[in-house]
Symmetry: C2
Subunit: 101 residues, 2 copies
Amino acid sequence: MDFRDRSLPDGINPMNFPAKLWRLVNNPLNEGISWDIHGEVILIDQHLFEKQILSPRANTSPDAFKTTNFSSFVRQLNLYGFKKVDQPIKQLDTLQDIINL
Amino acid sequence: MDFRDRSLPDGINPMNFPAKLWRLVNNPLNEGISWDIHGEVILIDQHLFEKQILSPRANTSPDAFKTTNFSSFVRQLNLYGFKKVDQPIKQLDTLQDIINL
DNA sequence: GGTTCTAGAACC
DNA sequence: GGTTCTAGAACC
């Protein structure tokens, strides 16, 4: 299996939430949503995400949601099993800094 | 009873949520939160409210909340029995317009 | 007593 | 299948 292949598996409706999320997070133009460095966690900047993805102005994309509320987006994440994790940002860097002392 | 009296009843802790809400909504400087025309419904402009009340920059007021998340503010409203109502704005005006035709 | 994260339920 | 509003539960 090629983990660089970011196409969707057969049988997944490309218009449903998981597929939209997949495309959004894989598009580097979307600064509000991205992978963490290990590709295991989705990082979301609420303010940027609201501005670039959820705002009515951003509604030109086919990946736009019907909602404009961040809380509704979170509800969808939870319905599909996503859990919030504590910010892993900088922790490894900090540890590395300590090791490098 | 003087309904114009907007002081707090005895026994209400002025630092708890209902008292803070009371002062916020009665302060005309807070454009993000106000009474409806009949004084029965609290009108909240989420964007303005976040900017003027919840944002860390606005945290100088003693009526500031510990949270910066609008959803946590809504959780508090619900815990104290507040319910969201459909926007009553303009409906009466429109009816009046029709009557006046 | 307040805040956060997630889920239930009703509705669209 | 998605969205909205409210509540449960755990934590601070």
